[in-house]
């Protein structure tokens, strides 16, 4: 009996079309929660800055949600959102993203120096315009830092969904484990890591492009 190689390239070749499908599914399930999470975190973060008393309870609730094991949440959601649906996976991931992004938005807005905010008021900005043209742009570096954390964690957590029948590349782990066949597992790991690295890189590039003014901030 010849020794089994660690990676069977022919398997990859034969299964490439279905791997692509899993990859696409993975990307969608990781990305949608981030986008929705950010869209929800922005108003909640703004509210947290505007009404300080709101902030601590919000963060408390978010931290409790964040501490729930993802698998448990997936199982609890099955009766509501269905077995093996994208929604079952994306709902908890959206909350995880919010748990990271709400504090990021609040910290970002708090990073606007007081003299900058006051000078914006004194120049005659209306509150909305001040938010859109001064405060949010200055919050971008901090929010993007939170987004990097949320993106990477979302990409890796999607895999757990495989245990409830919808986990994108996570399916490859279950498949490989059940058959004691390493190739799918290795392919899955490599693709998840590459995906996370690409997402992170894109966000770093976005930061460079969006905030050329923040690069050497420490020297100011």
């Amino acid at each position: 009996m010849h020794e089994e190689p660690l990676v069977r390239w022919d398997w990859i070749g034969r299964n490439w079309p279905s791997i692509q499908v899993l990859l696409a599914d993975h990307v969608v399930m990781a990305l949608v929660p981030i986008v929705i999470g950010l869209l929800v975190a922005l108003p909640l973060g703004l509210a947290g800055v505007r009404w300080r008393w709101l902030y601590q309870p919000t963060v408390g609730v978010m931290n409790v949600i964040y501490s729930l094991p993802s698998l448990a949440v997936f199982i609890v959601l099955i009766p509501v959102t269905g077995l093996a649906t994208r929604t079952t996976v994306m709902v908890p991931l959206t909350f995880y993203a919010m748990a990271v992004l709400i504090p990021a938005v609040v910290d970002g807005l708090s990073s606007v120096p007081d003299h900058v905010r006051q000078s914006a008021v004194a120049m005659g900005f209306t509150p909305l315009r001040r938010l859109l043209q001064v405060e949010l742009p200055i919050a971008v570096p901090v929010v993007l830092a939170g987004l990097r954390v949320a993106a990477v964690s979302s990409i890796s957590l999607v895999s757990v969904g495989a245990l409830v029948g919808r986990g994108g590349l996570g399916y490859l782990f279950i498949d490989g484990w059940q058959r004691q066949f390493y190739t799918p597992i290795i392919v899955g790991i490599v693709l998840v890591v590459v995906l996370a690295a690409i997402a992170d890189l894109l966000l770093v590039l976005a930061q460079r492009l969006l905030t050329p003014w923040s690069r050497a901030r420490g020297a100011a």
């Binding site: 900058v116 006051q118 000078s119 005659g124 100011a220």
Partner: protein, 367 residues
């Protein structure tokens, strides 16, 4: 003109920041609000553009109660310079300066052209225009802050301790820059500072406020120095009031003697007979070279060969009596050489002349 009419600011917790303040800020002048921390000077300033609203009383801007004007609209018509410049870190310098024009809906190109014009006006290199604030020094940032406040050409400028976060040398140059600009622009400026020297240097009028937000005295600097209203003002003004006051006394009353200057090319024999102990030696273009001590003159040669003592000069018609006195104290002759704007000697202010001028100043203080 800005008029404070019985203005009081009381906070919800009962703290009174400004107490029954009435005063007028004349158009085209610099009025300085000065006082220790807690005297309500910044609060008073911010009530003008409604960053803080007065609890009682009225603030009238050219006769219009500011409370009747929508705050953003009001503020776009009033320049504001804040302590740490408050530049927007995410915007290039040119766009920082163009902030108010953008808010007013000017065309982008027009706004930027105006911003470039102002950068030049406040003495900044136009290369700075495309940089971000963090790439500028504190003094440069503050100049940008002034340019930004002037961008939409507002008639009124509010300055909230604008120069207190920079080092003394930069501060002096910024102060001089402001006076130079003001001579060209004639804005109505309200300037807040805790530094009485700055107040005296910049103010056409100085309002001294005491803790609790009460006006202690409103006067022009020479009057303030000569006749402080009470012990608080006297103490706040600090030492050397008399000497500092001389900065505001023109040197025009100072008698000059034209017969005490002598050309360096003159032979020593031509001056030996004089009764004067010292003669001011000038070159061919009438520029001072130093003082010659008559009793120490050599037997032969010209005055160019004589070892000269140090001298001090003041610019006639521009420097104050303080400048003239200072120049006199820099020389063993005890006299000051008056020069014109080009540095050519116009004459000599002797100790006797200075004494006479100082006597007139002291006599003018009154009771």
């Amino acid at each position: 003109m800005i008029k404070f009419d019985r203005v009081t600011k009381r906070y919800a917790d009962g703290t009174v920041a400004v107490d029954d303040l009435s005063l007028e800020v004349p158009t085209g002048e610099i009025t300085v609000f000065v006082g220790p921390s807690g005297c309500g000077k910044t609060t008073s300033l911010r009530m003008i553009n409604r960053m803080i609203d007065a609890t009682e009383g009225q603030i009238l801007l050219d006769g219009v109660d500011v409370k009747t004007i929508d705050p953003p609209t009001l503020r776009r018509g009033i320049g504001y310079v804040i302590q740490q410049a408050g530049l927007f870190p995410h915007r290039k310098i040119v766009d920082n300066v163009a902030t108010v024009p953008y808010l007013l809906g000017w065309d982008r190109k027009k706004a930027r052209d105006r911003a470039m014009e102002l950068l030049e006006r406040v003495g900044l290199d136009l290369k700075m225009a495309d940089r971000y604030p963090f790439q500028l020094s504190g003094g440069q940032q503050q100049r940008v802050g002034v340019a930004r406040a002037l961008a939409a050409d507002p008639p009124v400028l509010l300055m909230d301790e604008p120069f207190s976060a920079v080092d003394p040398i930069v501060r002096t140059s910024l102060q001089e820059e402001l006076l130079r600009l003001q001579a060209e622009l004639n804005k109505t400026i309200v300037f807040v500072t805790h530094d009485i020297d700055e107040a005296i240097k910049l103010g056409d009028r100085v309002a001294v406020l005491r803790v609790g937000g009460r006006l202690a005295q409103l006067a022009d600097p020479p009057t303030l120095l000569a006749r402080p209203a009470d012990d608080f003002v006297r103490e706040f003004l600090g030492r050397d009031r008399g000497i500092r006051r001389l900065s505001f006394v023109s040197d025009e009353g100072l008698r000059l003697r034209a017969d005490l200057t002598v050309s360096a090319s003159a032979d020593v024999s031509t001056v030996r007979g004089t009764d004067e102990p010292w003669l001011a030696v000038v070159d061919g273009e009438n520029r001072p070279l130093g003082w010659a001590s008559v009793k120490d003159l050599p037997d032969a040669g010209t005055l160019a060969d004589v070892r000269l003592a140090p001298y001090g000069t003041f610019v006639r018609g521009r420097d104050s009596l303080r400048g003239a006195l200072d120049a006199a104290l820099l020389s063993p002759s005890g006299s000051a050489i008056a020069v014109d704007e080009e540095g050519r000697a116009e004459g000599v202010a002797t100790r006797e002349a200075l004494d006479e001028a100082l006597g007139k100043v002291a006599g003018g203080v009154g009771a």
